[in-house]
Symmetry: C2
Subunit: 355 residues, 2 copies
């Protein structure tokens, strides 16, 4: 077959060997889309790394395929995590594919069942505790210490190892490293993983220069920018609504070593980028994903990005993950007209301003 | 770059040339996933062609990229369609990417705004008429005849030309044609396209034998099985809820020439397959997609599929397209327990039956 599983393709950079029983749902190998219209408008070479095209719809699949593969290799039969979103979807999908059980522990407050639709469909056993998210995480950490359960939350080191493969793919596709890599920052594991990937690929002689890392938090959850944890993070971009990033040091290290930037963007800026990338490039992303693009626009306005530079925007999840936001933010509603040719044609001409 | 646009890759089989201004959102190149657990249980070699991993989440992208590319080549600035679902999403995404306008005309009755979230986000102008779907289709056909608007509903012949590339990919991946190709049948364009693709690839010497085509309609919309249009089609699988298939002759021809089968499956059978493929293989599909797998189970129970035969199940759309169905059909709800270690551990042991 022409296609190679992600873990096999980059095996030499990963903690696996020929005997490892690797899993695959055809994660990775996501498109690097040239943003033709935005590139022209900004005067840069802008590429979109669309991670929403992973099998469960987010970048989490890259780390999870390795975490669950290692659990399988070690003989464990159950993976466990505390999550209300993309992590639980990825964990339960790979567990299903491995014939393993998956346990998802969630806080009971205000969890929309829709957010769990994916995990439940993949067969996860979902336990809701009368407590908050930190309680849920504490309990699953404790359980994973004492029993034959593998914890697959971001404290699992294989997650970052798997996620770094996205950096490899960008370099393989371009033939070189971009000048700038812009990425949304929530828990900060992904920026840590990309930087690790770029450095390892350079050491292996696959590229000659490193990109500057540009990390963008949502303003209401900008712990790294403010230099302290945010007790009650708030942003429309739920995927990065995290006030106490687990990979704090990894993220700050990536920014400092690469001479990059950590900055924040407002919800309005995120929603503007979210709509622009759909309307100008045909790419529909999760709101949190648009933080990287909103950050690029902000830095461009500040004159930070030299003309002609190559910039990659990491778009972490698919827009179908959060259809409600789409409905809420779209400011054009259907135009209602009579059931005849003339009425429709007139409406078209008025809407497209060519009447 | 290592990656080739779909239209370029299969250019020799498509109505384009080197000068055609081809579009791409990295459609196609979708995974052919080996269904390990189901293969073992059924005693066949079962592969899942997961078309939900196209950029807008359904197989429609393959035909639409060609239809919009040809509209662009011909100098048109606007594409138009009547659709409440996947077609409008694909049309508006490629129009956005080409810098063209997209017009979507819909009937006003009972259209959930959520179904249009994708098209609206991609920037489609949506016009709702006080009439039914057939009225909408009649009007857009008429408008596309008289003005500089390209109709991209399934009557556009480029749709089937683009869709046939999925058959090429299956043969390229396996190295040969499967013994059986199972596919959901709604409007019947896709089964027509696959059969055209297989025959053309065989003529070009890329394969030696042709598959038997197995088409499956939903029982409440089984026009081809019953031999007459269904006036009021009903099924939970909205993507194939079509009572008057546009490619009627193409579908029946595919089944007859290949000595295959056209059959129907019930909504219960569809939902069972929908849940099984998520739980056993980690693949989350749109309910309509599961009709092909439900059909394979039915034919297996009837003893129709020889042991060891190679069977490909076409899964046409991503589960995230219809999260409400997931929530409604999942029969396990979260287990609610107290906020402590012992309560959670006890719940886990009881849920996984290893207590």
């Amino acid at each position: 077959m022409s296609w190679q599983p992600l873990l096999r393709k980059y095996q030499e950079f990963l903690p696996i060997n020929e005997q490892t029983p690797i899993l695959s749902l055809h994660e990775g190998n996501t498109p690097l889309i040239e943003a033709k219209q935005l590139s022209k408008e900004l005067g840069i070479r802008l590429f979109l790394k669309f991670e929403g095209m992973n099998p469960t719809g987010s970048f989490k699949d890259r780390g999870m395929v390795l975490a669950v593969t290692k659990a399988l290799e070690e003989g464990n039969k159950t993976v466990i995590c505390a999550s209300t979103g993309n992590t639980s979807a990825a964990a339960s999908a790979y567990a299903a594919s491995a014939g393993m059980d998956s346990i998802v522990v969630i806080p009971d407050a205000n969890i929309a069942l829709g957010k769990l639709a994916q995990a439940l469909t993949y067969g996860a056993k979902v336990i809701s505790i009368k407590g908050n998210f930190d309680d849920a995480l504490d309990i699953v950490r404790e359980i994973s210490k004492q029993e034959a359960y593998t914890l697959v939350n971001s404290v699992n080191p294989y997650r970052i190892e798997g996620q770094k493969t996205a950096a490899f793919e960008i370099v393989d596709e371009l033939g070189f490293a971009p000048d700038y890599l812009a990425i949304p920052v929530g828990n900060a594991g992904n920026i840590t993983a990309y930087w690790k990937g770029f450095k390892e690929y350079k050491e292996a002689g696959k590229m000659s220069s490193l990109p500057k890392m540009l990390g963008f938090e949502a303003e209401g959850a900008a712990a790294l920018v403010k230099g302290e944890p945010i007790l009650h993070p708030e942003t429309i971009a739920t995927a990065i609504r995290i006030g106490r990033p687990a990979s704090w040091n990894g993220a700050m290290n990536a920014v400092q070593e690469s001479q990059g930037v950590i900055d924040s963007v407002t919800d309005d800026e995120i929603l503007e980028a979210y709509q622009l990338v759909a309307r100008k490039e045909g790419v529909f992303v999760e709101p949190g994903s648009a933080a990287s693009l909103a950050g690029i626009f902000k830095k461009w306005r500040e004159g930070y990005l030299p003309k002609g530079s190559t910039v990659v925007s990491v778009l972490t999840g698919h827009g179908l993950k959060d259809p409600n936001i789409a409905v809420q933010t779209v400011n054009t509603k259907p135009t209602i007209v009579e059931n005849n040719y003339d009425a429709v044609l007139q409406a078209i001409q008025s809407l497209t301003e060519r009447g």
